[in-house]
């Protein structure tokens, strides 16, 4: 009993620590990659090729004055960043990293991830409203509408693979792909999933809630210091979580090519690196959608696609499997 508890705590600490560290370096990576794509160098000053930049940033944020606007709703204002961060981390409790490396297994794992990640919107809405600023509120509105809509497509796109795997448990889903990854069975689902994932994580081209150029950073305009850092932490944690879900559902999780005997966790990290690179790559490439375009793409294009995918999968499964 106690040994189990200690093991569980160790695992949790390991995962959370890794995430926090990786997130810090993700910002660095993003700036570097975008810099190179845009034919510049990115951060160069702190450390070798700016390697210590994230630590400097973190230190700066940590030491910065924590301003709460006088007209803000104080309680909500303080809770909001936590509400964003907590779901982002809770998601990791059921994600699969390796055959035997996970924090816990739940029967409704996939579903739980969807449910918990949908809570992130609360933090954003709370932040936007509590700031008592029109930019923040507008950002919060956009975010609420966008995340509610795209959550549906995200969920629907996952139903196809789910029907193939016959389980909501991540370990089982990954095991079902021992032979063939679901990306080959479900390309349509993956496209929908990926676009919805971009929108869920508020990434370009769907970063309307933040939209620096029009809303002055949207819902977190009024935030500073550690609270601001929380939002960023949550954003990158979300990206990794959603990448992990994508890898687990479409790319066979920790599974790799039999010819190359690498440990599962390594395969997983490699896939993760690719996914994150794609995320950053897209950010450097695409412009932002307009709000009405965003909704139109979602409801008139992705939604029918997702439904079609479910229908076809069900039909095929019913007829041939």
């Amino acid at each position: 009993m106690i040994a189990e508890l200690i093991a569980a705590f160790l695992k949790i600490a390991l995962v959370l620590g890794t995430i926090s560290l990786v997130v810090a370096y993700l910002t660095y990576l993003e700036r570097k990659i975008i810099g190179h794509i845009q034919m510049r160098m990115g951060p160069m000053r702190v450390g070798w090729h700016g390697l210590l930049q994230p630590i400097a940033d973190g230190l700066k944020l940590f030491l910065k004055e924590d301003i709460i606007p006088s007209k803000a709703d104080k309680i909500v204002f303080v809770i909001a960043p936590i509400m964003v961060l907590v779901p982002a981390f809770v998601v990791y409790s059921v994600l699969p990293f390796d055959e035997n490396f996970y924090i816990t297994q739940v029967n409704v794992g996939l579903f739980l991830v969807l449910a918990v990640s949908s809570l992130g919107v609360f933090g954003i809405v709370m932040a936007g409203w509590a700031s008592n600023s029109k930019y923040s509120l507008l950002g919060a509105f956009r975010s609420a509408a966008q995340m509610l809509s795209y959550e549906i497509f995200l969920g629907f796109s996952l139903i196809g693979p789910l029907m193939l795997a016959g389980s909501l448990n991540f370990q089982n889903i990954v095991r079902a792909q021992a032979d063939v990854w679901f990306i080959f069975y479900q390309p349509l689902a993956f496209i929908v999933f990926f676009i919805a994932a971009l929108a869920e994580t508020n990434r370009i081209p769907f970063d309307l809630p933040e939209a620096e150029t029009e809303l002055v950073a949207g819902f977190h305009t009024e935030y500073s210091g550690m609270k601001f850092a929380f939002f960023f932490l949550a954003e990158y944690a979300n990206i990794m979580a959603v990448s992990t879900v994508g890898i687990a559902v479409f790319f066979g999780g920790w599974g790799g090519i039999d010819a190359i005997p690498l440990p599962g966790i390594v395969w997983y990290l490699m896939k993760m690196a690719v996914m994150i690179f794609v995320f950053i790559w897209i950010r450097a490439t695409l412009p932002r959608y307009r709000y009405d375009q965003l909704m139109r793409v979602g409801w008139k294009f992705m939604f029918p696609l997702a439904i079609l995918n479910i229908f076809v999968t069900g039909l095929v499964k019913f007829l041939f499997l």
Binding site: D73, I75, V76, I79, T104, Q105, V106, N107, V108, F111, L112, L114, A115, V116, S118, L119, V121, F122, V125, M126, W129, L137, A140, F141, A144, A145, L148, E151, S167, L168, N169
Partner: protein, 170 residues
């Protein structure tokens, strides 16, 4: 252990819902309601209804309450905070509620002992999932109510659009 968690969640539910019912600020009330829903999903997990627990979070907290927050923000909340919050019949309402609780309590006390739980195990990760059982009942025995529920949702959707849409003067 189970009992401990049950009491924790119950205390959370009751505390949060009492606070929610008494808040002047609608946003705070809504957030407290979300909190209540979280605790409830905890109760559901304790009862072995894990699917329901997730649905509770996904639909109630993630869906319905966001809708609430969204609508509240569209309206003017600040005005109502300064107004009188309670209805004239509040006293009677509370008195009646208390008596009602007392009565329910008595009824339950009279209920005597129930047979032991036939229940399902509530260990997380146990293989025969609650999802399959639920699904197989939902899509066979209760297929018709299920379809009716979907029609209801459609009707509510149309109704909501019609109601909330601004009439365009021609």
């Amino acid at each position: 252990m189970e009992l401990l968690f049950f009491y924790m969640f119950s205390a959370g539910i009751i505390g949060a819902s009492l606070l929610m019912v008494t808040r002047a600020n609608v946003i705070h009330a809504a957030l407290l309601l979300v909190l209540t829903f979280f605790f409830m999903s905890g109760i559901f997990i304790l009862a072995g209804a894990e699917f329901l627990a997730v649905v509770q979070v996904l639909l109630y907290a993630g869906g319905i309450m966001v809708l609430y927050l969204f609508s509240i923000m569209l309206m003017n909340v600040e005005v109502s905070v300064r107004l009188r919050q309670y209805h004239r019949q509040s006293f009677f309402a509370v008195a009646a509620s208390l008596i009602l609780i007392f009565e329910v309590w008595t009824v339950l006390g009279r209920g005597g002992s129930y047979p032991a739980f036939k229940g399902f195990s509530w260990q997380l990760g146990a293989t025969p999932g609650n999802v399959e059982a639920l699904g197989s009942v939902l899509y066979t025995k209760y297929l018709f109510p299920f379809e009716v529920a979907s029609i209801l949702l459609l009707a509510a959707m149309i109704g909501a659009i019609v109601l909330a849409k601004r009439t365009i003067d021609r």
